[in-house]
């Protein structure tokens, strides 16, 4: 892997993309076999993998829009990472197809008999029905892809020569874009995940989903920065100050995510209404208790305490280690939200959980890395670039 510090590009992107592509192909092939072994397991595993990588792409879109809306300076040097992540979203649309194909397996409300037999489900049929669900999923991706493409194209066009008008147009896309983002992400969470238990509902669910996406995207920033610096790229451009800021935001979003989980749990526990506690009852007792504890301790308490310090956020390897741990916990979080609909009694890990993650993730990382290495790693013409490099945050 070679990096040219004049053009800020990799002259030789190295074997990473090839390895990821191979992992993706192998993962998809094995998962396809899995479909014939156990279709139910395949679809649920797929849903976990699909939402995991989609939320990271969505996080990239979010952080890019926040960058433009706030006019931030510090993030200029790492902005391309967010852009590369959001540019993998169109490929995630392709991976939504198995979710739509498996809709009858995944979602109880698609069964006409179950709906006819349940007063509550038939009341929801106006929203929870197959055609509307498909239309919505297509619509969400249309919005996300449109926003990602607009923002990426304009940002890349700046590399040829900075244009203040174009910079302003990034802002005008991001404003309404953020509103569209908030609503589509919320309803995507309702559709894809909350409707797995169609009688259960929680108004905070969209914010929980967003919290996971935001934490994971900062984790991806940390891992990517660490990876490219390990290859000798941008070592004097991205400094401990930038890692510190990435770490601080990762910490802040982690707390936000924990706060969403706590708000949901506390209020449902307190009111103790059977229609709501059903969600936690499924995740407590039998085989799920241990995983709930892993989520509480590993997903929040331990990283919260350790990441509070300054050192771990500034060190390249320590930050990357925490980031990888939090990505793992993001997977646990999604698994914990999705899988009880399949394995009600206990956690049954399947080899398909691994192959679908490799299949979807291999392609996601392939496209992410390809985008990142095909373009300059930093927005070379950005007038705030010099100030961003010299950041002193303390």
């Amino acid at each position: 892997m070679q990096f040219d510090s004049q053009t800020h590009r990799f002259t030789d992107p190295g074997p990473f993309a090839r390895i990821m592509l191979l992992a993706g192909i192998a993962g998809l092939a094995l998962s396809a076999v899995g479909y014939f072994v156990d279709a139910r397991q395949f679809f649920f595993s797929w849903l976990v993998a699909f939402t995991f990588w989609t939320t990271i792409g969505l996080g990239g879109l979010f952080i890019t829009m926040v960058h433009h809306l706030t006019g931030a300076t510090w993030s200029v040097v790492v902005r391309r990472i967010g852009e590369a992540l959001m540019c993998a979203l169109p490929w995630m649309a392709l991976f939504a197809i198995p979710v739509l194909l498996g809709i009858g397996v995944l979602y109880e409300w698609t069964d006409p008999e179950a709906v006819a037999g349940s007063e509550m489900l038939s009341r929801k049929a106006g929203y929870l029905n197959i055609p509307f669900f498909v239309i919505r999923t297509v619509f969400y991706f249309a919005v996300w892809i449109l926003l990602a493409r607009l923002l990426a194209m304009k940002s890349l066009a700046q590399d040829a020569g900075w244009d203040d008008k174009r910079a302003h147009s990034l802002l005008t896309v991001s404003g309404p874009g953020m509103i569209a983002f908030a609503l589509t992400v919320t309803f995507a969470a309702f559709d894809w995940l909350m409707s797995l238990q169609p009688l259960w509902y929680s108004t905070i669910y969209g914010l929980w989903f967003f919290g996971g996406a935001a934490t994971s995207v900062m984790a991806m920033f940390a891992v990517t920065v660490s990876a490219i610096q390990a290859k000798g790229a941008l070592t004097d451009v991205i400094t401990p100050e930038h890692r510190h800021d990435i770490g601080k935001l990762m910490f802040a979003f982690l707390v936000f995510w924990g706060y969403m989980h706590l708000s949901q749990y506390l209020l449902i526990w307190y009111a103790n209404l059977p229609e709501e506690t059903a969600f936690y009852k499924m995740r407590w007792g039998a085989g799920w208790t241990a995983m709930s504890w892993i989520l509480v301790a590993g997903g929040f308490v331990v990283p919260f305490i350790l990441l509070m310090a300054r050192g771990p956020k500034r060190g390249r390897s320590t930050l990357a280690a925490f980031a990888i741990w939090l990505l793992l916990m993001h997977w646990v979080d999604l698994y914990w939200n999705i899988m009880p609909a399949l394995h009600e009694q206990t956690v049954i890990l399947s080899w398909m959980d691994l192959t679908t993650m490799a299949g979807v993730g291999g392609f996601f990382l392939f496209f992410f890395w390809r985008w990142l290495t095909r373009h300059p790693l930093i927005p070379v013409t950005d007038p705030k670039l010099a100030a961003s490099i010299r950041l002193v945050s303390g």
Binding site: Q264, L267, A271
Partner: protein, 475 residues
């Protein structure tokens, strides 16, 4: 003149954007001290101040008289009754606690986010926080009915072996608001110490002694600054979770119940967003007034500052709007007819007017601020900021008043506020304004040391050599 006068706060917020305070010309350190201290030091209190103080102090006295009557008669003088057991007092409580949040957001979160423009309004906003929390704390205290037993809310060891019910969200309120008040006062006072020293060094005679005591022995040495800045950073870190926790706990007063329309998991973040929204509304209102009445502070509270405050109003207004939409949708999605009825009744029932006032003021009015011109127009901003607080008061009213139709139609009853309800609300505004006017008169309303710290000449690399750069950065 001692060494306290020209305190520079050298490393606080070493960010990049041009300091808002310096955008109207470039005041020297001395100009900052002279302008801000001058407001406190002048002997001739302006006439408008006496008039405003007279009115608000009268309203405060009116409040005290009403409280006396309340204790004498009982809470029956208010409109509270079954089924609306919680009327104006809780509405006012939540309203005032919410107002406070902007101060903490500005002083703590914007500090951590390196937003240097906050230096011109943070003192002001933090003072508002403290006074708003005082007004808020009043309402639950006088609403307990048996006011002589109010100390039962505190976990005091006592002979009766009676302890507060720690599982009650109302008890959590006592702790949350108590913590919030303590932290806010400490944070505010810590920020004030260098400024008291500046006043001390400029004063003579007994004033110097008073300011000297308030300055706690501040000399402005390097070591003091080093400790001071670490303390400030840590207090900002401590105050940051309080921005979220206090109003989250307030929201649990409603959300832990099994009352439809109240029991909603989005309540904690939704209340926090609303609190920051209303608080920014109040800061904006007060800052525009202060700017009009004290022309010298115009150099500090610039249009750029207001532009940014308008953006935060728009952002938090839309967060509140998000919550309204999601709540309404989920009420339908729940399939639960009671839940659905509450929301339909809010929007189209007998109190529909308050719902639509809430919606218009909180969701539609902030949309004005898409326009840069309107964000920088003080008359528009002034009216909008007042409407925001009208809207936020009605939001709490809408939530509380939805009790008027509960599960049993036979027990439905309308809520009618009495003259005392209005009187207590007005009285709380009187108390708030009285405290605020005293603050404007006796305390430096802009954090002098912090403003100096963000002036260009405070940057050791400002003169081009070894440029850390980015004076033009930010936006």
């Amino acid at each position: 003149m001692g060494n306290g006068t020209e305190h520079v706060n050298p490393t606080t917020e070493t960010a990049k954007s041009a300091p808002a305070a310096a955008s109207n010309g470039n005041p020297s350190f001395h100009d900052v001290s002279a302008t801000i201290s001058g407001i406190v030091e002048r002997r001739d209190t302006p006439l408008w101040w006496w008039i405003a103080f007279g009115i608000s102090a009268t309203m405060t006295l009116g409040l005290l008289v009403q409280i006396a009557w309340l204790f004498w008669t009982g809470i029956g003088i208010w409109g509270n009754n079954i089924p609306v057991g919680w009327g104006f007092p809780i509405v006012n409580f939540v309203f005032w606690v919410g107002i406070g949040h902007a101060g903490t957001l500005i002083s703590a979160i914007l500090f951590l986010l390196r937003q240097r423009w906050r230096t011109s309004i943070n003192r002001f906003a933090e003072a508002m926080t403290i006074f708003a929390v005082i007004c808020a704390g009043l309402f639950p205290a006088i609403h307990v009915g048996r006011v002589w037993a109010i100390y039962w809310m505190f976990p005091l060891p006592n002979q009766m072996e009676m302890w507060p019910n720690f599982r009650s969200a109302l008890m959590w309120d006592v702790f949350a608001v108590g913590t919030y008040f303590t932290a806010s006062v400490l944070f505010w006072y810590t920020g004030l110490v260098p400024d008291w020293a500046t006043l001390r060094d400029r004063a003579r005679g007994w004033r110097q002694k008073v300011y000297g005591i308030l300055a706690l022995g501040w000399r402005g040495g390097n070591r003091q600054w080093k400790h001071y800045e670490m303390a400030y950073l840590l207090l900002a870190g401590v105050a940051t979770p309080l921005v979220l926790s206090v109003h989250s706990v307030v929201s649990t007063d409603f959300a832990t119940s099994m009352v439809f329309g109240w029991h909603s998991t989005i309540f904690p973040p939704y209340f926090v967003a609303g609190a920051i929204f209303s608080g920014f509304g109040m800061v904006t209102t007060l800052a525009i007034l202060a700017r009009a009445l004290y022309p010298p502070v115009r150099d500090f509270m610039t249009l750029d500052t207001f532009d940014k405050m308008a953006k935060i109003l728009m952002l938090t207004g839309m967060m509140v709007g998000y919550a309204y939409i999601i709540e309404f949708f989920t009420a339908w999605y729940s399939g639960n007819e009671y839940e659905q009825y509450v929301f339909i009744n809010r929007a189209f029932g007998p109190y529909a007017v308050s719902y639509w006032i809430m919606f218009a003021c909180n969701v539609i009015v902030p949309q004005l601020f898409w326009s840069k011109k309107l964000r920088r127009s003080l008359p528009v901003l002034f009216i909008a900021s007042i409407l925001v607080n009208v809207g936020m008061w009605f939001e709490r009213f809408v939530i509380v008043i939805s009790l008027h139709r509960d599960f049993l139609p036979s027990s439905w009853e309308m809520f009618k506020p009495t003259a005392f309800d209005i009187g207590f609300l007005a009285g709380s505004f009187g108390l708030f304004l009285t405290l605020f006017l005293l603050f404007l008169r006796f305390v430096p309303m802009v954090a002098m040391a912090e403003v100096k710290g963000v002036l260009p000449q405070a940057d050791p690399h400002a003169n081009g050599h070894h440029d850390r750069g980015g004076k033009e950065g930010g936006r």
